[in-house]
C-alpha cells in the first residue's frame, strides 16, 4: 500500500512539472526552483508534514521536499537559538543530500569520461 501511495504522489508531482514544462517556456531550472519555493511554502502551515505522513517516500523524493527540509531544519533550530537558528539549522536535514551529491558527483567526474 505504501508503495502505491509513494508511486502515485511522486508521479503526480512529476506530471504537474511536465505539464508546466510542455506548456510554457520555462526550463527545468525554473521549474525545480519553483517547486523548491513551493515546498518551503507548504511547510509554513505544516501541510507538507501531513503529506509525508500519508505518502512517505513519495513526498520525500520530489525536489519540493528539499524546500520543506530546509524550512523544517531552520524552524526546529529557532526553538533553541532564536532568530539565529534560521541560518544555523537551515542545512540540518538537507546536509545528507547535498554532501552526497557533491561527493559522488566529484568522484564520478574524476573517474568517468563524459559521454556525448
Amino acid at each position: 500500500m505504501n508503495y502505491i501511495m509513494a508511486f502515485l504522489f511522486s508521479g503526480f508531482v512529476c506530471l504537474i512539472a511536465q505539464l508546466i514544462y510542455d506548456h510554457s517556456r520555462l526550463t527545468p531550472g525554473h521549474i525545480t526552483s519553483l517547486f523548491v519555493v513551493l515546498g518551503s511554502f507548504l511547510d509554513l502551515f505544516h501541510i507538507y508534514d501531513r503529506l509525508v505522513d500519508i505518502f512517505h517516500a513519495g513526498a520525500l523524493i520530489p525536489i519540493t521536499s528539499f524546500g520543506h527540509s530546509l524550512m523544517h531544519g531552520a524552524m526546529a533550530a529557532t526553538k533553541e537559538y532564536g532568530v539565529f537558528g534560521i541560518a544555523m539549522g537551515m542545512f540540518d536535514l538537507t546536509a545528507a543530500g547535498i554532501s552526497a551529491a557533491i561527493l559522488f558527483g566529484f568522484l564520478v567526474a574524476i573517474l568517468f569520461k563524459p559521454k556525448s
Binding site: V13, I86, G105, V108, F112
Partner: protein
C-alpha cells in the same frame, strides 16, 4: 515576420500528440522512482530499526549515489530524454545536474572545471530554497513570538 507571428506559426506546427505521451512518461518514471525510494526507505527502517525521519537521509544518500553512478555511465541522460520531468523533479535529478555539469567541464581542470562548474545548474535550487525558507522562516518565527 515579427516575433508574435513567428510564435503563432511555431505553435501551429508543433506536434500535439506527444504532450500527452510526455505527461504519461513523466508520471510513470517519477512514480517508479518514488516507489524505489519507498523500498529503500523501508529497507533501512527494518535493517537499522529506526524511525522514518532517521531513515530518510540514508535513503536520499543511496538514491543520490545511484543517480550519480548512472549519470557517469550515461544511462541517466538516456532515461531523462524519455521521462522529462519524471527524472528532473526527484532529488536524483538534482544529483544528476551536479554530476553532469562536473563531468562536462572535466577538460577545464580540477579547479576552474569541476570545482567551479558543479553548481552551474543545481545551484539555483539551493539558492532559492534558502532564500524562500529564510523569508518564510522569519515570518513564522515572528508569528510564533506574538502568537
Amino acid at each position: 515576420m515579427d516575433r508574435k507571428e513567428y510564435d503563432q506559426l511555431a505553435e501551429s506546427l508543433k506536434p500535439t500528440g506527444h504532450k500527452m505521451k510526455n505527461a504519461f512518461y513523466a508520471f510513470l518514471y517519477g512514480g517508479v522512482i518514488g516507489a524505489i525510494a519507498q523500498g529503500v526507505l523501508e529497507f533501512f527502517m527494518n535493517v537499522y530499526h529506526v524511525k522514518q525521519e532517521d531513515a530518510t537521509p540514508m535513503m536520499i544518500i543511496t538514491l543520490v549515489f545511484i543517480s550519480c553512478l548512472l549519470t557517469g555511465l550515461g544511462i541517466y541522460d538516456k532515461l531523462a530524454q524519455k521521462a522529462g520531468a519524471g527524472t528532473f523533479i526527484p532529488i536524483t535529478g538534482f544529483a544528476n545536474s551536479m554530476t553532469s555539469c562536473a563531468l562536462d567541464s572535466q577538460s577545464e581542470g580540477l579547479i576552474m572545471g569541476i570545482g567551479s562548474n558543479m553548481f552551474k545548474l543545481g545551484g539555483t535550487v539551493i539558492t532559492y530554497g534558502i532564500v524562500s525558507s529564510a523569508l518564510l522562516g522569519v515570518i513564522r518565527y515572528v508569528i510564533t513570538l506574538f502568537g
